[in-house]
Symmetry: C2
Subunit: 322 residues, 2 copies
């Protein structure tokens, strides 16, 4: 290692074993990456302890848990740069107490997630995947006209959390937006419901895109789904466990909700088999952010935040720890 390399800012890489991220090489030209998994198992802890007091930044690759004990090991830690949207794998209360900043990559992902959310919604309402299946089964010539869909315009869409990119798109289709969140946000011009149940009562569609926390686990429960009603549609691009999946399957099978478009599931890659028989269901293999453009944006955002931190410049996409 030459002098220039030694003088690069130190970044602790925290990643799952056997998981490599494609822009490591690019980062290594600008930062002194310290990745304990590069060293043999036997020397890992002592190595980490030796460098711990110098580590100001941790790059958390994928959803690698950042538990209390790891944070305790790192007295100088100031920043955790996450590479996911959800950060429930990080001990946020301890970060708050310690004054450690956490960034996620919501900004890099929001457009692609919004595209998929809207795509799933059009698909459920206009039966696109089911229509495609209908044609591939050569049923058109045999059975004639296909089922009617339902128009997007005029649908009352309740957002589980306001996502400006989703809203921008849905407004262009003439949808009517309202939202739920912990607190009413004065900057948001749409009707606010403090309670998800009330949001469901007043919506034709629920778009679920909030982060998974203890509070939001199964936030879409049987009561909420029943309140949404027999024509109601749920789109989930957030996290599988935001919906009580077992109840959802029952309600779908007996026709108590109108349809769902799901990019996420409670127990991935397991998908409840009952859903495979239903045309009112559109299933997507957790690919809301699976575009090359999205991966590029993720890389740019992480590099930006690492450089900004060491240059004392403002960071992007900081997680609100309040």
């Amino acid at each position: 290692m030459d002098e220039e390399e030694v003088n690069r800012p130190l970044v602790l890489v925290h990643r799952p074993p056997n998981f490599h991220f494609p822009f490591r090489h690019r980062l290594a030209t600008q930062f002194n990456l310290f990745d304990p998994l590069d060293s043999p198992d036997s020397t890992r802890s002592s190595l980490l302890c030796r460098h711990a007091h110098n580590i100001r930044v941790l790059l958390c690759v994928y959803s690698t848990p950042v538990f209390s004990d790891l944070l305790s090991l790192l007295p100088a830690l100031e920043l955790i740069v996450g590479s996911t949207v959800g950060v429930d794998h990080i001990n946020l209360p301890k970060c708050r107490r310690r004054g450690i900043t956490v960034t996620n990559v919501g900004v890099a992902f929001s457009e692609d997630v919004a595209d998929l959310a809207v795509g799933l919604l059009i698909d459920v309402l206009r039966k696109i995947s089911a229509g495609d299946r209908f044609l591939r089964a050569s049923s058109w010539a045999k059975t004639g006209d296909y089922a009617l869909g339902s128009k997007l315009g005029g649908k009352r869409v309740g957002m589980g959390k306001i996502g400006s990119e989703v809203v921008k798109r849905l407004e262009a289709f003439g949808c009517i937006i309202s939202y739920n969140s912990k607190r009413k946000k004065s900057a948001i011009p749409f009707p606010y419901y403090p309670d998800v149940y009330e949001l469901a009562v007043n919506s034709d569609v629920l778009v679920v895109c909030c982060a998974l926390t203890e509070e939001t686990h199964h936030i879409i429960n049987k009561d909420v789904m029943t309140a949404l009603g027999k024509e109601g549609v749920i789109i989930n691009v957030g996290c599988g466990a935001l919906i009580d999946e077992k109840e959802m399957v029952k309600l779908l099978v007996c026709g108590e909700i109108g349809g769902v478009g799901l990019d996420v599931f409670e127990n991935e890659p397991h998908v409840p088999k009952e859903l495979f028989q239903l045309d009112k269901v559109v299933l997507s293999p957790h690919c809301a952010v699976a575009t090359p453009e999205c991966f590029d944006a993720l890389e740019e955002l992480i590099v930006f935040n690492l450089k900004a931190f060491f240059a004392n410049k403002p960071l992007w996409s900081m997680v609100n720890l309040e």
Copy 2:
């Protein structure tokens, strides 16, 4: 028939045999509907001839041909109220010469068609139907991560004809619009290409939504598709014969174009079987306007135009016969 009924304005109903339209009853309360198909075959011609000089308005149900000989029979005809978007089943040159106004229902259909066009585009780019198929085949747990899609934002979308509802939606996704039509339209702020080939060269996506005429038959030919390129996507919500389907199938099979989303086909309900094997293809059974909301809007538009005509008020959705 009482006096009030006789005094209602006379409207000639021109429909296919065995095709009934659901709002006939509603129309019958406001207009004196003269439907030759209600009478026995033997008396039909003489009945029509007897009333012909009084007929100022013809309601053309579905794509029933309005040939020159029918127009010649109706010397007093001033208006043909169509119930479709395309009006290539009507002898338009003769209408122009005779000064007969023709209305279509483009206005009633444009939102639903735009929704489906955008839905098909998201589906092709983000592989929604293919992903749904992947999950229903229980492949996720077996083969792991699914294929990458492609982001909508930044895609250069060439419109075969400017459709303001499509444009409004695509702009919300960050797409970059340009268009082709016979003439540059000063009110439209997007780049204009007088030639479809040039439009394809400068586009990532072509959205085909123009009317079928002699000039637009196979307007998307092999050269245009090749110009669009290996990553290029075509969405057709217009009419099957706008695309040279045989060439399109060949180019898709050998990977010379990136994908297609088709609501219409050259020989419906026949769909080329080669397409059934391709994940880059999304097939839809001609259902761009198949929503109850759309049918309601169609009915409202037709009733509006019939009433407006007899009240000497301006009509909606007039076909430009120039």
